[in-house]
Amino acid sequence: MKTVSLTIDGEKVTARQGEKVLWAALDNGIYIPNLCALRDASEIPAACRLCFVEVEGKEQPVTACTETVEPGMVVNTRGPSALRLARTAFELLMSSHPVDCAHCPANGSCELQKIAHHLGTKLKTRRFRKLLRELPVDSSSPVFIYDPNKCVLCGRCIWICRERLGIGVLGFAHRGFERVVTTFADEPIAESGCRDCGECVVVCPTGALTFKEQ
């Protein structure tokens, strides 16, 4: 296997040739906020827009999940332009996320909390209007609860259900602000061929998919 040496935040690291910067950083213990990236997915969604980094020689910040490592590449995950974009993307996500951590089962394990901490931003955005969607919660499954209002549309659940397990209960539907993770024809999850394995709950970064209390 060919490897490539590069510098991330001043640290010399090596990565597999053809690897994306995001994985090179994470494998070397350098955190870059990310929600939609999936290591083994056939296509890179590049949808959450949180993983911006600066690369020496490039005018604009780039998304780490799409940028391939190059020999001698110098990456700065904390550059001001990259952080500005990541923060704005995060604040936008939070502007349509109900922030009620105290009553949320994901409290403490929520990746949004981790990202807010990393970026030094608040969970409650002051800059933007609050735009909540007020969608019905689906608790039809015997195993878990799906609250689409807390979903950040990262697509991890869809990927695990479809590409990993070959079940395909979940998918994206609707466009624009209405985009949502749902079942075919919006049927309750329990009536959509769900096998109750709960793998989607494990990969969900937020409190959108949570196990029912036993």
Binding site: P45, S81, A89, L93, G176
Partner: protein, 638 residues
């Protein structure tokens, strides 16, 4: 790949061409009057089909046997329905705003009689001593028809008309060249893509030709989703073969076997004419196996898109062709190396492809001699909004905005003042009067904060509120956003909320900084071109018309008197005729009453729903009803 048997290509085509020419000559020199009716979508909307029926009826009645030909759009959409009559002994004359009654008169008085009915004339096609011709129009000095050359002058449903007017000659010539020579010619011409971004076409083709993977594809992007744009539709409806020819040459140059035309299903006439064109081209072996006896084989399929704006974005368009939802994906890889079904694919705009035949036929130097240093050739615009001559205009790159709007477009109707021009649709921007002398090219427009886009040009006058205009465009992009990436899904939504508040007088001055910062982040951070350009209307109006935003926020005033919530209707007592009741009668909510003593009319502001009907009902000689902003301007009634 190499086309063999050059000899046979040349002679096969010569035969086809001479047959087409004799058919065309037969039409022209048959000793009969030829009647052409502009029946593209613009003509039909104005009643061209009724005119067509009336002409046929009257010809029958008068026992006249004259060919009646449906042609496409000449670009003078403001004058539709247009009828062109070529009578032996007369120059071909175009008549404007023809209705069935005028049509019958033209048949009786001009074709049967000898009175050319000068009162209905738009212009003659050729210079003559009888009537003014198009070349006498002030716009003629600025226009240069290359892409639109045939539009409105040939029957789009007859391949022979196209061939007789020089069509498919470029293909025949190309098949006698090496593919690399063609790519080189296109590169040297300096042609840049007309789909919006202006990417060098020759370079795109070269990348695709050199890319590994087979089969390769050519896609014609005819999605045209910008509100107000209709150039690509007009071309597909008026001269579909010019698009096929460009695709064929592209296919030969890159080594493709198949092509797709992607048209929106809302363009039924374009779809129909493209279908007919494909059938006719196949019949003459201009499509299919061993085209014109060469060893180049190529076929084209038509695909009807569902008409989403984002489906015009190339990766979304390809996804949609593959049967997936039309959602853009991250590039690179670009379609030129990994396109349709993962194969190397050239995707070009309709106008880019039409330009190709002209480059092959007349040479790179000829094409490069038109235009500016970095933008070659002509630009096609759909002129719309507050401009007298709405329609299509084709001008050399480098023509100024002022020339297009005031010379080609004849300026603003109703003696109103020009305020801004919106170029490039939802991805473009609004440029003010101070930018009117800007030469039109890809780079100068981008520098000024607008964009060439695909060629929509909407003229705005003093009655248009710039905040409302940018809200309108943002609402469009927000509605058309696929929702995949955070910036576009939520960022444009945030911007829209703020703009809506400002138009209602509920904005705060801090909002303006928030808007422009967020707009910059959306531009830099979005996944695809839709998000990357969506903030342009807002950024450009903030740049040039910040005072209008401030008036809304600080004074609750809409300077253009357009934003409903910031205006009030007021009847000026001194102007009111008093005994006239026109406004009282038309008010649907009974908000208007007479002053108990002085009898002039008063609007009850509590009841008024600001529909504006009273303004139109007030007889023009009084013109007593005005709009005031902010609504507090209305004096208390005495």
């Amino acid at each position: 790949m190499k086309a063999t048997g050059f000899q046979s290509v040349a002679s096969t085509f010569r035969e086809i061409k001479s047959r087409a020419e004799s058919q065309w000559r037969g039409l022209r020199d048959g000793g009969k009057s030829v009647i052409m009716v502009g029946a593209a979508t613009c003509g039909r909307a104005a009643g061209a089909l009724e005119v067509l029926q009336a002409i046929k009826r009257e010809l029958k009645k008068q026992k006249l046997d004259c060919p009646v030909v449906e042609v496409g759009c000449m670009g003078h959409c403001y004058a539709e329905p247009i009828v062109t009559i070529s009578k032996p002994g007369y120059p071909p004359i175009c008549y404007r705003h023809v209705n069935p009654v005028i049509a019958e008169r033209l048949v009786r008085e001009f074709i049967l009689g000898d009175d050319p009915c000068l009162e209905f004339v738009l212009a003659a096609l050729e210079e003559n001593d009888l009537v003014p011709s198009f070349s006498d129009f002030p716009r003629a000095k600025f226009e240069k028809k290359v892409i639109l050359k045939n539009c409105g002058h040939i029957d789009p449903e007859q391949i022979e008309h196209y061939i007789a007017n020089g069509g498919y000659s470029a293909l025949a010539k190309a098949l006698q060249m090496q593919p690399e020579e063609i790519i080189d010619e296109v590169k040297r011409s300096g042609l840049r893509g007309r789909g919006g971004a202006g990417f060098p076409t020759g370079q795109k083709w070269e990348i695709c030709r050199n890319a590994l993977g087979k089969p390769k594809y050519v896609i014609c992007n005819g999605d045209e989703g910008d509100p107000g744009a209709f150039m690509d539709r007009a071309i597909l409806e008026s001269d579909p073969h010019s698009v096929l020819e460009g695709m064929l040459i592209a296919g030969y140059a890159i080594g493709a076997r198949y092509g797709y035309i992607y048209v929106r299903a809302e363009y039924p006439l374009a779809v129909r004419r493209a279908r007919i064109a494909l059938r006719q081209a196949r019949k003459l072996n201009l499509l299919g196996r061993n085209i014109l006896g060469s060893d180049f084989s190529f076929d084209i399929k038509l695909f009807q898109g569902s008409g989403a704006f984002v489906c015009g974005e190339e990766t979304a368009l390809i996804a949609s062709l593959e049967g997936e939802p039309g959602i853009p994906c991250y590039r690179p890889p670009y379609p030129a190396t990994n396109g349709l079904y993962g194969k190397p694919t050239v995707i070009n705009n309709v106008k880019t492809l039409v330009s190709i035949s002209h480059i092959v036929q007349n040479g790179a130097e000829w094409f490069a001699s038109v235009g500016t240093e970095r933008s070659k050739g002509t630009a096609v615009f759909a002129l719309a909004g507050k401009v007298i001559n709405t329609g299509l205009a084709e001008v050399p790159m480098g023509t100024t905005l002022r020339q297009v709007i005031f010379d080609v477009g004849s300026g603003i109707p109703g003696g109103k003042r020009f305020k801004a021009v919106q170029i490039g649709g939802p991805s473009g921007g609004c440029l003010p009067e101070s930018a009117l002398d800007l030469p039109i090219d890809f780079d100068s427009l981008t520098d000024a904060g607008a964009m060439m886009g695909s060629g929509g040009m909407i003229v705005l006058d003093e009655d248009d509120c710039m905040v409302e205009i940018s809200r309108y465009f943002l609402e469009f992009t927000q509605r058309e956003s696929c929702g995949k990436c955070t910036f576009c899904r939520l960022g444009t939504k945030q911007m829209l909320e703020v703009l809506a508040e400002i138009t209602k007088g509920k904005g705060k001055i801090e909002d303006l900084d928030m808007l422009s910062q967020l707009a910059e982040d959306i531009k830099a951070g979005s996944l695809c071109g839709l998000g990357k350009t969506a903030p342009n209307p807002v950024l450009s109006t903030l740049r040039y018309f910040r005072d209008e935003y401030e008036a809304h926020i600080k004074e609750g005033r809409c300077p253009a008197l357009m934003c409903q919530e910031l205006i009030a209707y007021y009847i000026v007592p001194e102007k009111c005729e008093r005994s006239c009741d026109a406004c009282v009668g038309t008010c649907t909510v009974e908000a208007i009453s007479s002053h108990p003593k002085k009898r002039y009319k008063i609007i009850d502001q509590e009841k008024c729903v600001k529909c504006g009907t009273c303004v139109t009902s007030c007889p023009p000689q009084y013109n007593a009803i005005v709009k005031l902003s902010p609504p507090g301007q209305v004096p208390a009634s005495k």
